[in-house]
Symmetry: C2
Subunit: 209 residues, 2 copies
C-alpha cells in the first residue's frame, strides 16, 4: 500500500503530518512525500521545512492520495501540473483524501462536483464554488473521496482510514501508540464552540462573509 502526500510551497504542516502520523503506521504501508519539484518545501509560516523525496513522475499509482491545505493564496488552484497529477493518480487510488483547504485543490481538479465534502470553516463558500455539497462534519466520506475539516482534523481522518484499510484493532493500536486521548485546555475548536466575537473577527480578517 503506497500513501502519497502532496507537498507544495506554503502548505500547513499539521494538515500533512496528522494523516502521516496515523496512515504511515499501517503495517506494510509505504509513505512518500511528493512534489512537482522534489526537495525542501517551506511551510506557510516559513519556519519549517519538509523534504519531498519524490517527483510526480516517481509516483503514478498511489493507493492513497493525501492533499494537505494551506492559506488560500498558497494553493496551486490554477497550476495545471499539480492539478493534472492529482487527476491522473485519482484514476487508480483507493482513497483520494484532503485535509483543510486541500479539498479546494481537489475541487479545482474537478473531482468534487456533486460530492459531499468539507474544508476549513473559513473556506466553505470557496469549496462550494467547485460544485461540492459542503457539510460541516469533521470527516466526510463520499465514495472514495474523504475530506476533513481544518488542520487538526487530519488525525481523525487518518485514524478513520487506518480502520478501513487495516481494521479496527490496527486503528486502536495507532491511537494508543500516539496516545490520542485529546484534552484541549479550551473549547474553541469550531465556529459553533468558539466565542462569537472571535469567529466574527477571523471572518473579517480573512474577508469571508
Amino acid at each position: 500500500m503506497q500513501i502519497a502526500i502532496l507537498l507544495y510551497p506554503g502548505f500547513t504542516t499539521l494538515d500533512a503530518v496528522g494523516p502521516y502520523e496515523t496512515l504511515s503506521r499501517i503495517p506494510g504501508a509505504e509513505t512518500v512525500f511528493v512534489a512537482e519539484r522534489p526537495g525542501p518545501h517551506s511551510n506557510e509560516l516559513g519556519s519549517l521545512t519538509l523534504v519531498a523525496e519524490a517527483s510526480f513522475d516517481d509516483v503514478t499509482r498511489p493507493d492513497v492520495l493525501v492533499v494537505p491545505g494551506g492559506p488560500t493564496g498558497n494553493l496551486p488552484l490554477a497550476h495545471e501540473p499539480v492539478l493534472e497529477w492529482v487527476r491522473a493518480v485519482d484514476r487508480t487510488t483507493t482513497w483520494t483524501t484532503s485535509v483543510c483547504t486541500g479539498s479546494l485543490i481537489l475541487g479545482a481538479a474537478g473531482l468534487l462536483k456533486g460530492r459531499r465534502a468539507t474544508t476549513h470553516w473559513l473556506a466553505m463558500n470557496h469549496l462550494a464554488s467547485y460544485g461540492a455539497e459542503v457539510t460541516g462534519e469533521r470527516v466526510v466520506t463520499d465514495g472514495k473521496y474523504v475530506t476533513a475539516a481544518g488542520v487538526s482534523s487530519g488525525i481523525d481522518m487518518g485514524l478513520t482510514l487506518v480502520g478501513r484499510a487495516a481494521g479496527d484493532r490496527a486503528a486502536q493500536s495507532v491511537q494508543l501508540l500516539i496516545e490520542y486521548d485529546p484534552q484541549p485546555p479550551y473549547d474553541a475548536g469550531s465556529p459553533e464552540k468558539a466565542p462569537a466575537d472571535l469567529v466574527a473577527e477571523w471572518r473579517e480578517r480573512r474577508g469571508v462573509a
Copy 2:
C-alpha cells in the same frame, strides 16, 4: 519570544509538530528547529525529513525549549553534546518542555530530579529512573518544566502554553484556526481506555513490565 525545537535523527514527527503548529502561531514568536548538525533529519519511520536550520551555537537563549521524543533507542540519552546544550539553554528559558519520550532527554540531562513529569505511557518507569515523580496526567507543569504524554499530547501542551504566554483569547484563536475540535473515531487513546489485551500486547512487544 524565541521557541527552539530540538531535532535529532529518529524523532517522532507529531511530537515536534503539535507544539510547532500551536506555539509558532503566538503573535511575534520566532520558531526555530535546532540540531547538533543543521540540515535534514529523518524521522523514526524514515519516510519524513524535516530540516533543522540552526545549530546549537546559533541558539543559545531561547525563551521556550521543546524536546520531542522518539523510540527510546533513538534518543540521545548519553550523548553529551545534546545534553550539554539542553542544560545550557535551560538556565535561561521561561519554559523547558517535552513531548512523549522527550522527557527522558530532560531526565538524562538531570533536569527532572524530584519534579512531577510525564512521558509516553510505555516509558513511565524509564522516566522514573531519572528521579522524576511520574504522573499519568496528559500535561504536567512543575515550575517552568512542562512535560506532555505521548505524541499527540503536544497539541494540548502547546495550546496550554499559548494561553500562558499570550492569554486565553490568543489560545482560543489558535484552537479555532487549527480547528482542534477532536472527534476520534475510536476511544483507545490511553492504556486505561484501550482494550486491555491490546495494551498488554504493546507492553510485551516493547519489553515493558
